[in-house]
Symmetry: C2
Subunit: 439 residues, 2 copies
């Protein structure tokens, strides 16, 4: 029989158990914070009808298509894999509007697929962690401010050097191009790409887009500006910018009032989210000292989530964490230790398995009942090999017992990291193991 | 603009937040038990090369194909969505063999896709929860027994009336057809379908397959048999059955020694797993009083997991829970209450939001820091509407405060289920809310 090659598909990450365990810790942490703020979890199918996926236009060439199997009895619609969680949310909200309570606060942690060119940190399959607050007809502006402290809580719970949430409002840059709405989108993208890092290139790019000198000067000055008051002066020639500036001011003050520490938040007018459909507040999050990683959590306000499904308006605000990329970055940066290859933290080693199996299993049951993940080494092997196995797997504690220990209702608890061990009585095993496991 | 219809795709389940929360509780419970037994988590891409998916033959017509997007720069291989987690495991083990420690104990909880005809309880997208123990070259038979107590622990942790694990060994029925291996697979399928429920139909089906009277009598008698000793007598004319009977005996005794209560385990020679690739031990799990639901957790032993990828043998044993179907069944059976539409268990109601926002957020922060998921009602609304919102969402507790309470550093804690409330001091809020939340 010809063998099939066992190989990965480029751009589809697949991790060792060590990294997967680290990823699960991070996913649990994100979900825990989303839970604490009362965001209701939903899941939507990986597969959507193509007309749903392409309704808001744009990235059709990045969508993986899905073909139905031969014996299909279903509808004839074209299908594709969802490329984000926002389009599915829009469909979900419209489809289930009658059963939902608005404002609908939802969290969604799921895989998405994008046919982007595979490159470092760009996956074709990756997990997104989204929260959104969606109103029916109306959504109080206080919710723009509300999502920012959630980002703060999520990243605060991670073991990273620090982070900063940068916030702006798309109406501000939009107002500079109010008389040339066709240019506005391209200008936003140019600002997004060149930001404050290269004023000269930004100048050139805007020139090429046909912007006039007043516009170019305003945008370049704006990207170097760090406060709403300064921005008001810079944009004094663009009265339509007042609304965006007022909204941004309210979001900044609201977020601080809502508990976001001031030093975690910065107004940054170069934040534009050029490729997205935001209409007001926009934000990005950077890890201190790793600004070159790019934003690790982004989002904003959109006036109308579901305009391609319904004439009713569903304004919303939300943020999204690209979890797979974040895991990749945090592991490279050594902020997310991938230390163990198994959830087990205790190995019950066995000697004379057949004689004392009951005893070993009794030990394992005691530990598991106490909530301590435990593996029993069930294959016949010398104790030395069993301890090597535990060390190789990153299991920190071994419980060892033989005739003498079972006769005395004791066991040896060995700390494999510090190479120390202690004989403890049966009643004392859980307490002793717990003591070793506390960091 | 023409509107796109927001509608579901048949066979792709999509649940309300209430059901999704219940599903997450169940998923967490399964994962927790898999963790306690030390199964290492992995994930594999949803997408595999078609030659990988079809290598072991069989259900090609059930595979959803995946087409690459237009701007793809990748390999030209055909792709498809994985239809189970065993084929991906085989590829993973062969591809990463050098980095894995064997026996490799892995858990994998992921979506799979099958183009089956949509019908009640049969989804085209569903979550499977698999554990497998895979050896390299050899796998001690003790692991066949080891997975059964894990099933026991998982279902024991659920709120169901009871359950029974039924176990057999495919070598036993195989031995009856040792001289006609072509018939064996069909006979296994007939036994699987008709089991012990309809001996006459089974008789007829086997006759049609060309089985002789001795074979038919043996199979029909066997499916009515409930112990290995009885089976030995029934199969005295088929000496090759001895090996399968001995293996089954060892698995039953081993599982009981490993802590599986005797009344949870039954030998059942009608368990054949006709459509699977098992070569020895096979098992199914039934919920007491709901045997008509079919098996909710099945698995078995395979001598060679990855024969289509490598000449090295990787024997394994594992079980799989079809989680989406189980959630559907448990909710219909009212064993998995879908009571709340949000993870929040406390609503902090607001009156005069602008004046006291700081106080409301302080209350929320205190509760969240104590690990209590809390939502703050941020939109201006009468208290009555806020309480209705909490009740509609299934939030059991409301914390209410106004000028008087803030002046006295107190708050009203209202139990919305029992319509009682109490004024408590700020220091006492966490303790009081926790008291209400304990079942």
């Amino acid at each position: 029989m010809a063998l099939v090659k066992a190989a990965a598909i480029s751009g589809f990450p697949e991790w060792s158990p060590r990294v997967r365990l680290a990823e699960l810790r991070l996913t649990d942490l994100v979900r825990r914070q989303y839970d604490l703020y009362g965001f209701a979890p939903i899941e939507t199918p990986a597969v959507e009808r193509m007309e749903v996926l392409t309704a808001k236009g744009g990235i059709q060439r990045q969508i993986f298509t899905v073909g139905r199997p031969g014996d299909d009895d279903g509808e004839a619609a074209d299908l594709g894999l969802h490329f984000d969680l926002t389009v599915p949310l829009a469909r979900y909200v419209v489809q289930h509007a009658a059963e939902l309570v608005f404002p609908f606060r939802r969290q969604q942690i799921q895989k998405v697929w994008r046919g982007e060119r595979a490159q470092r940190g760009r996956f074709r399959e990756f997990t997104q962690c989204d929260i959104d607050i969606v109103g029916s007809g109306h959504l109080d502006p206080v919710h723009d401010a509300e999502v920012l402290p959630v980002i703060n809580s999520v990243f605060d719970a991670m073991d990273i050097p620090g982070f900063e949430i940068r916030v702006s409002n798309r109406k501000i840059l939009g107002a500079v191009f109010a008389d040339a709405p066709g240019t506005a989108a391209d200008a936003l993208r140019a600002v997004d790409r060149l930001g404050r890092s290269d004023p000269e290139a930004l100048n050139g790019a805007l020139e090429q887009l046909g912007a006039d000198k007043e516009q170019i000067d305003a945008v370049v000055a704006l990207t170097a500006t760090e406060s709403v008051d300064q921005a008001r002066r810079v944009l004094s020639g663009f009265p339509q910018a007042a609304r965006g500036l007022a909204e941004l001011d309210a979001v900044v003050h609201g977020a601080i009032q809502l508990g976001l520490p001031e030093d975690r938040l910065r107004t940054d007018f170069s934040i534009a989210r050029g490729l997205d459909y935001y209409t007001g507040t926009v934000c990005e999050t950077f890890i201190t000292g790793h600004e070159d990683w790019g934003s690790v959590c982004s989002g904003g306000r959109y006036d109308d989530l579901a305009s391609f499904f319904t004439n009713r308006s569903y304004p919303g605000v939300g943020v999204s964490i690209g979890l797979s990329r974040l895991v990749d970055l945090l592991i490279r940066g050594e902020y997310l230790p991938a230390s163990a290859a198994t959830p087990a933290v205790v190995l019950v080693a066995t000697q004379d398995r057949d004689e004392y199996l009951h005893g070993y299993l009794g030990l394992a049951r005691t530990l598991r009942t106490a909530g301590i993940p435990t593996e029993v080494f069930l294959q016949p092997a010398p104790l030395r090999d069993q301890i090597s196995y535990a060390s190789a797997q990153g299991i920190p504690v071994a419980v060892i017992a033989g005739r003498r220990e079972f006769d005395d209702d004791t066991a040896i608890v060995r700390d494999l990291r510090h190479h120390v061990q202690q004989l403890v009585t049966g009643d004392d095993i859980v307490r002793h193991v717990r003591g070793l496991l506390v960091p």
